[in-house]
């Protein structure tokens, strides 16, 4: 598995794909963050930033995943994979981990940089809390900063988990076709579907259907994190999506191997 992981990871950085992805994602991430915070000034909203980030994930992650298996199929190197002594599960995991490493590394670097810039101008975070914390005694800058970091960690973890789920979906779609464009479009469609499915709720009169759609909706699950709640059921949900689509990918290739 590690060999597959290393090979794919290196391939992202020996071809323009990885650099193009990182540059575009960092530019969009930085631009959105600036729009929601720096440009908004007194109306700055970190929740607003995260709610927009999850809408761009379905666009950027398929760029990474579209070639995972499609390329192997197109270049006929799939046979090598299918006949290798490594289990299909490890192959799939290796590819998934390489995609996820590129995505999560890029997101974490971009987020750290953006929040360092934010912190430079966030004096109100300290003066306002200290002024209104009369009843709690002395509060240090570290108390305020640590609480702020904790409140941001939840949404960041949720975005990373959502990225993992989307990466799994992208890899599955990639395994179904040899055409990278079809893989890209299919992945985007499914991911956007999962993000926006909860928005149909206002048109549905039946509570059972609304509950089911909310349960499925990636955006509804993410809401809890934006409100400051670290929801364990949402963590399980994202992990389950990841598992299901990786499992399906393994099943697809197992079928090909044994057919």
């Amino acid at each position: 598995m590690f060999a597959i992981f290393k090979r794919d990871l290196v391939s992202y950085f020996t071809t323009p794909v990885g650099y193009v992805f990182m540059a575009i994602f960092l530019a969009i991430n930085g631009g959105l963050f600036s729009l929601m915070t720096l440009q908004s000034g007194s109306q700055s909203s970190i929740d607003g930033y995260f709610s927009v980030v999850i809408i761009i994930l379905p666009i950027v992650i398929p760029v990474l995943t579209m070639k995972s298996f499609s390329e192997e199929k197109k270049q006929k190197t799939e046979q090598l994979l299918l006949t290798s002594p490594i289990s299909i599960g490890k192959i799939v995991m290796g590819k998934f981990l390489s995609v996820y490493t590129v995505f999560s590394g890029t997101f974490i670097i971009g987020t750290l940089f953006n929040f360092m810039v934010y912190h430079r101008f966030a004096d109100n975070l300290y003066s306002w809390v200290v002024e209104n914390a009369q009843r709690e005694g002395a509060i240090t800058r570290w108390d305020v900063l640590s609480h702020f970091i904790l409140s941001v960690v939840g949404p960041v973890i949720a975005v990373l988990l959502m990225g993992a789920a989307f990466a799994a979906i992208g890899i599955f779609i990639s395994s179904m076709t040899e055409n990278q464009l079809v893989s890209l479009v299919g992945s985007i469609a499914i991911m956007f579907g999962l993000v926006f499915i909860g928005m149909l709720n206002s048109y549905i009169p039946f509570e059972a259907v609304r509950v089911a759609l909310n349960w499925l909706s990636v955006y509804s699950r993410f809401n809890a994190f934006m409100y400051g709640i670290f929801d364990f059921s949402a963590i399980l949900y994202y992990a389950s999506i990841c598992f299901i689509f990786l499992f399906l990918t393994v099943r697809v290739y197992e079928k090909r191997r044994w057919a």
Partner: protein, 498 residues
């Protein structure tokens, strides 16, 4: 051996290819979905989450919990919080979601609190069942709190604190206070509090009235000329009178009615400000309780709030006597909150401390709040005298009386300003509200929602100029991508040409 090998291949192939494999795949996916559904349902029921907010927005306030502990174990207590839209709709509204999560946390802690969701849009007739005595028409974002006999309708805004009353400027969550207040109001302990009228008093729109309602009092207006006080009266409020009371020389003696009730166990709060005319009858009565409102107006330029020209000043706490006991819990805090008074008249103690009244009662008068030594009092009337120094701005007089081997305790809280209980000063950052509540708690009503502060949201606003914003936007958008692109070009060129 070949047969065994072939059989093992066939077994493996069945698991990975064909209808059996398909069934296995579907079963695994179904199992994952079922596990998720069960876990989600259990997590919602048992509140399996971590509150990551800076101010513990979704965690019950310990002071509210302590107050509500008084009601635990009471079989008759059953308080239901009813949200007027299904729970899946609440999740999409940030304000409703916050209140819902906090109410659920309280319901998890206390058996007598439960949460329910009704869809008033699709089933408006449901409201008939809950709106027993309330005439307010709830919206889908409203919360109805009921004990089965009475119901209170809260707008969602009332669970928050805003700087100007609009939802766009909310800055704190006040739901712990409102939840505790709702329970107290519906718990059945509703002593009567009267607002006296017919002397130009501020009555219906008063923030003090809201405070008493939140504390669980049955608040009523009374015109003492036409009506009598109930024998169950626990509190009487005279808030900002302009004209005098009727006394012994008139056909109806309002003062006697007050005095009769205060001979029992009841309290009187009097707030008189600069705009009041001379009130000889009322002030004569108050002098027997040890207080005299001087016809002067206080300014303190050294301790006044900025921009108030010395009229809005930070009062000092006294440290001795009965008055000090009302503020001891505040003074013990690491950083005592400020009590603010504005447009204040000085209150003079008529007797030094102890006084034996004619009806066998003993009265002790004590200041609660004073100005600093740098205050100046200028006369309200032409020809009057001014003064400088430390002045009382809030005093308390406590009366102890024995009759037929029964002890009766009454109190008078006198304030030289009616603005002590203004909305602006009743927020959690000032001490005014808690001083009033502590007075009620010590002398009038055991359970009041005291010391339950709003949870202030963190201020994410940034202080930067447009130029800085544009510069840093360019940096955030371009710097890292430029570095990555540069590395990419370097690696690509090396691989291609070297």
């Amino acid at each position: 051996m070949n047969n065994n090998y072939n059989k093992s291949i066939q077994r493996k192939r069945r698991l990975k290819y064909g209808s059996f494999a398909m069934a296995l795949t579907v079963s695994v996916i179904a199992l994952v979905v079922v596990i998720n559904a069960i876990f989600t349902a259990l997590a919602q029921k048992n509140m399996w989450y971590i509150d990551m907010t800076e101010r513990d927005l979704y965690t019950p306030d310990p002071k509210a919990m302590t107050l509500l502990e008084e009601y635990r174990g009471s079989e008759e207590m059953n308080i239901e919080f009813i949200f007027c839209m299904p729970e899946d709709g609440l999740v999409m509204n940030e304000m409703c979601n916050m209140v819902n999560n906090l109410v659920k946390a309280y319901a998890e802690e206390f058996d007598f609190i439960s949460v329910k969701y009704v869809d008033i849009n699709n089933n408006p007739q449901i409201l008939d069942k809950y709106l027993f005595t309330s005439t307010a028409a709830p919206k889908t974002t409203s919360v109805i709190v009921t004990n089965g006999k009475n119901a209170i309708v809260y707008a969602i805004d009332s669970f928050f604190v805003s700087s100007d009353g609009s939802t766009s400027t909310i800055y704190a969550l006040n739901a712990d206070y409102k939840i505790a207040s709702a329970v107290i109001r519906l718990a059945g302990d509703n002593p009567i509090a009267y607002f006296v009228t017919n002397h130009g008093e501020e009555v219906n729109g008063s923030a003090l009235r809201g405070l008493l309602v939140d504390a669980g009092y049955d608040v009523r207006n009374i015109d003492l000329i036409k009506e009598d006080l109930s024998p169950d009266t626990k509190l009487i409020v005279i808030n900002k009178p302009v004209t005098d009371f009727w006394g012994a020389n008139q056909s109806v003696n309002e003062i006697k009615k007050l005095d009769t009730v205060l001979d029992g166990s009841a309290g009187l709060m009097v707030f008189i400000d600069e705009k009041a005319n001379e009130l000889p009858v009322l002030e004569d009565y108050l002098s027997h309780w040890g207080v005299k409102f001087e016809r002067q107006s206080i300014r303190d330029y050294e301790n006044g709030l900025a921009g108030s020209n010395g009229r809005e000043l930070v009062a000092e706490y006294t440290t001795e006597g009965a008055g000090a006991s009302l503020t001891s819990f505040l003074r013990e805090l690491p950083s005592a909150p400020k009590a603010v008074v504005t447009a204040c008249r000085p209150i003079t103690q008529v007797y030094s401390e102890k006084y034996f009244s004619g009806n066998g009662a003993t009265r002790y008068v004590s200041p609660v709040l004073t100005t600093s030594k740098s205050a100046e009092a200028s006369p309200l009337d032409d020809g009057g005298e001014g003064a400088s120094g430390k002045f009382n701005v809030l005093t308390v007089t406590v009366q102890y009386r024995m009759k037929d081997n029964t002890e009766y305790n009454s109190f008078l809280l006198a304030g030289g300003t009616s603005a002590f209980s203004d909305d602006a000063y009743l927020s959690g950052s000032y001490a005014n509200r808690d001083i009033l509540y502590n007075t009620m708690k010590q002398f009038s009503k055991k359970n009041v929602p005291m010391n339950i502060d709003p949870k202030i949201f963190s201020d994410e606003s940034l202080s930067l100029t447009s130029k800085e914003a544009n510069q840093w936007t360019a940096i955030c958008t371009v710097l890292l991508p430029a570095i990555v692109s540069g590395i990419g070009i370097f690696v690509y060129a090396r691989r291609r040409y070297l």
